[in-house]
């Protein structure tokens, strides 16, 4: 998959065409332990960053903007080999991050207008992790999240309308309004939740990965190669289920990637006050799996690490622990006054906004124009507005919905005094039956 700039030369453009992609082959270098650890504030170690793997798909062609000018157009300042995405990929990533940001901002507005209730945890600032990882997945792959799950759902493909409706508690929500902000599920998009208690989703994700191994080795269905991603935060990494699952996944080489979104805070608990060894990536080694630290504010770096970890899992080489250094721009939830975080820290991360950084990257590398990006932003605005309108117009769940999904087999409600199953009572479908 060598980069090629040939196709782009066909464009009638005065500007030089730009190709993307790697100039090195990836076969041998995607070694099991060949992860590139970003220099981090924790370790102070600096490691070479490899250039990314270009896509074998069509390579970037600069859109035709023919400028009639006498002077030759200057070459873009950065070297071509440094560009890590194609234009198409770049726009996809950008759009996904903008969707995440815009959606969450709208959630805040809607919450303060009493359209959504309870505990709502927003993802602003962490978009690079969701986009970088989830856009590297196949449709059949699974993801499992926490209560900070709106953007994971969107990245995985759950329509914005369904997520917004769920947040409004409407019957058209992805969970019929029964889950709410912290319990986003989608069977179609293989989103396994949405969990309110930290850590409790990790075993569920591990079980999905176990299913892949079982399908291949017991059921002998080699067409199943689904990888599972488990997303959780720094606070969770002090929880028993985290360690227990790392152990099992490594033991059985499950096809899973454990993605830590270390935003340094667990509500008001500073990561360094809660954790004896704050370098979470190091804990992978205790279980014999690679532990990788990556700059979670840089979508391309996240994507690079993600691709390698996912490929490793899909090959059958087992799990990886990836720690993404990231930050949430808002409080823990919309109910959090966020008084403990110092302005200096917030500012430090504000200037590393993943969306602004990627926008700059796209523009500087000529992968997109301002107009392209504005088009995307406008499109997303419309999608989010539409989602709100749809949710607003959607009906509230009727009383009849109350009892329907308690059991997959409603005979679980038992047999009533009259000898009939409770679920045969007409009042059952009305939601008013005694059960």
């Amino acid at each position: 998959m060598a980069a090629s700039s040939l196709a782009s030369r066909a464009v009638a453009s005065l500007s030089p065409s730009i190709s993307t992609g790697a100039s090195r082959d990836d076969a041998g270098s995607s070694s099991v332990v060949g992860f590139h650890k970003r220099s981090s504030a924790f370790t102070g170690r600096r490691v070479r960053i490899s250039s990314g793997h270009g896509s074998s798909a069509a390579h970037g062609r600069r859109s035709c903007v023919v400028a009639a000018t006498a002077a030759p157009v200057k070459e873009s300042p950065l070297k071509i080999a440094d560009a890590l995405v194609t234009r198409e990929e770049g726009l996809e990533l950008y759009e996904d991050m903008i969707l995440g940001r815009c959606f969450e901002d709208m959630c805040a507005q809607m919450y303060y207008r009493s359209k959504m209730f309870g505990f709502v945890h927003l993802y602003n600032g962490q978009e690079a992790v969701s986009t970088g990882f989830i856009k590297s997945l196949k449709k059949d792959d699974y993801i499992c999240s926490t209560y900070r799950d709106h953007v994971h759902a969107l990245s995985k493909g759950v329509p914005a309308r369904q997520v917004m409706s769920e947040l409004f508690g409407k019957a058209t929500g992805c969970c019929r309004g029964q889950g709410g902000s912290m319990h986003m599920f989608s069977k179609e998009h293989r989103l396994l939740g949405g969990f309110a208690f930290i850590g409790e989703g990790i075993p569920v994700a591990t079980g999905a990965a176990f299913n892949t191994k079982y399908s291949r080795e017991v059921l002998k269905d080699l067409s199943v190669d689904a990888v599972t991603l488990a997303f959780f935060g720094d606070g969770t990494c002090n929880n028993g289920q985290f360690f227990e699952c790392l152990n099992m996944a490594a033991l059985w080489k499950l096809p899973i990637v454990y993605v830590v979104e270390n935003n340094l805070w667990a509500i008001g608990m500073d990561h360094f006050r809660a954790t004896s060894v704050p370098e979470i990536w190091k804990k992978g080694e205790a279980f014999g799996m690679p532990g990788v630290h990556v700059d979670g504010m840089d979508v391309l770096k996240v994507r690079e690490v993600a691709k390698e970890a996912i490929a490793r899992a899909r090959r059958g080489d087992g799990p990886t622990l990836v720690e993404c250094e990231t930050y949430r721009y808002r409080g823990h939830s919309l109910a959090d006054p966020d008084e403990l975080r110092k302005p200096e820290q917030k500012n430090k991360y504000a200037v590393r906004d993943p969306i602004a950084a990627f926008k700059k990257y796209l523009l500087e590398n000529g992968l997109a124009s301002e107009a392209d990006l504005k088009t995307i932003e406008k499109k997303i605005d419309e999608i989010v507005e539409d989602a709100v309108e749809f949710a607003d117009a959607s009906p509230l769940p009727p009383r009849s919905q109350l009892l329907e999904n308690v059991f997959a087999d409603p005979r679980g409600f038992g047999i009533g005094p009259d000898g009939k199953y409770r679920c045969e009572d007409p009042a059952f479908t009305a939601g008013t039956a005694e059960v």
Partner: protein, 393 residues
């Protein structure tokens, strides 16, 4: 497969083939229904009407030649093995279920037959491997999670409550959790407080769970199969002291109904509701009671959640007196819930308050004399029934 499946009626009277006699109340009557659809005997409406056998109905005795004798742990194993052979997505996970064959031998030989992945030896991390079983079930497998002792599942309460019980609901019905959680519980012989717990008491409030308790080899196998086939999360409670109970069970395949209670002994004087090990204490007490001229109706409720209010109600409508005999503690146990359900539903049929014999609200002591004092004994059952039938309480 073309195998015929018998669904014997748990309420034995509904097919009229019951064998018992006052002097042999220990005998576990095996009732054969006709060939019915395997999903539930309740599909046959005419069977559902008669929950209580009329006295004097004759029946063809179970011959010594039919069926095979088996111990309870082996009956569980047989049921599990049959289901695993029938459906390749059925798998077991838990501590020492594989190479060790299970701490009570319920999975003996299964790892050799089905492999280490289908009978998975897990590390000691109940919450995580229970959650793993749930995640596997959500994505297409049918997992049987074993708690080496049910008490250990306290560590898995997070997963059992939040994920097994609730995920079907919070996902708006998108994911089903066909998981069976099983293991030995109850008060044993001087096992100490922590190994003598009654988890049915703690889990009964979790919405979305079904709970059944086996008490004989016959119902153990039938409930195991039913639980595995159910799309709901089912907790199957076994008892540490019942694993070596022996009984003759049918050779033909059979699956019991999860929601039904079992009429053990028809009678007219008083309804005694019980389950698990207490069933056998009640039967032991019944020997004496019958000799003294009383005629108790004994029902093994089997389904701890939900209660089979039809079988229970029909009995109360006949006898007007009810005694619950359970191993849970007095506070918050199955008996407490059952009493409330009886008062709510059958108040008009009661001659007196529903009585309940439960264990003491005491951590089960190690010393034998104290341990015996915490659980209900047959002598207490006799005293209580006599008091109730003589109108003394």
């Amino acid at each position: 497969m073309a195998q015929k499946v018998l669904v014997p009626c748990s309420s034995s009277s509904s097919c009229g083939k019951v064998q018992f006699s006052p002097s042999r109340v220990h005998t576990q009557a095996i009732a054969f229904g006709g060939e019915l659809s395997q999903s539930s005997s309740r599909k046959n409406k005419s069977l559902a009407l008669k929950a209580v056998a009329a006295k004097g109905e004759t029946s063809a005795p179970v011959t010594a030649k039919s069926g095979h004798e088996i111990l309870l742990f082996d009956a569980l194993r047989e049921g599990l093995e049959e289901e695993m052979a029938r459906d390749p997505t059925v798998c077991v996970m838990g501590e020492d279920v594989g190479h060790y064959g299970g701490s009570y031998k319920v999975t003996k030989g299964l790892a050799e037959k089905f492999g280490d992945l289908r009978v998975l030896d897990t590390p000691i991390c109940e919450n995580s491997f229970t959650g793993m079983g749930i995640g596997a079930a959500m994505t297409g497998l049918r997992t049987v999670v074993e708690g080496m002792n049910m008490g250990f599942l306290l560590l898995a309460y997070n997963q059992i409550s939040n994920n097994a019980g609730m995920l079907h609901y919070t996902s708006g019905g998108q994911f089903k959790i066909p998981v069976v959680i099983r293991g030995p519980g109850g008060v044993g012989k001087q096992l100490g407080a922590e190994h003598s717990q009654r988890l049915e008491s703690y889990f009964q409030s979790v919405p979305g769970l079904q709970m059944v308790a086996c008490s004989t080899p016959y119902n153990a196998k039938g409930l195991m199969k039913a639980a595995i086939r159910s799309d709901n999360p089912v907790i199957l409670y076994e008892h540490v002291l019942l694993y070596n109970l022996k009984e003759r069970i049918p050779d033909e395949e059979y699956v019991l109904c999860l929601e039904e209670a079992e009429l053990v002994r028809p009678g007219k004087d008083i309804t005694i509701l019980t389950y698990s090990r207490m069933r056998h204490f009640v039967l032991q007490a019944a020997k004496t009671l019958v000799e003294r001229g009383y005629d108790p109706e004994i029902i093994d409720i089997r389904s701890l959640k939900p209660f089979d209010l039809f079988t229970i109600g029909n009995s109360i409508k006949k006898t007007h007196k009810v005694l619950i005999v359970e191993e849970c503690m007095r506070t918050g146990g199955i008996g407490a819930s059952l009493r409330a359900a009886i008062v709510d539903n059958f108040w008009d049929f009661l001659d007196g308050r529903p009585e309940c014999l439960s264990s003491q609200d005491v951590p089960t002591p190690y010393a034998a004399t104290l341990e015996d004092a915490t659980v209900v004994q047959p002598a207490q059952i006799i005293v209580k029934v006599e008091q109730m039938l003589q109108g003394l309480i």
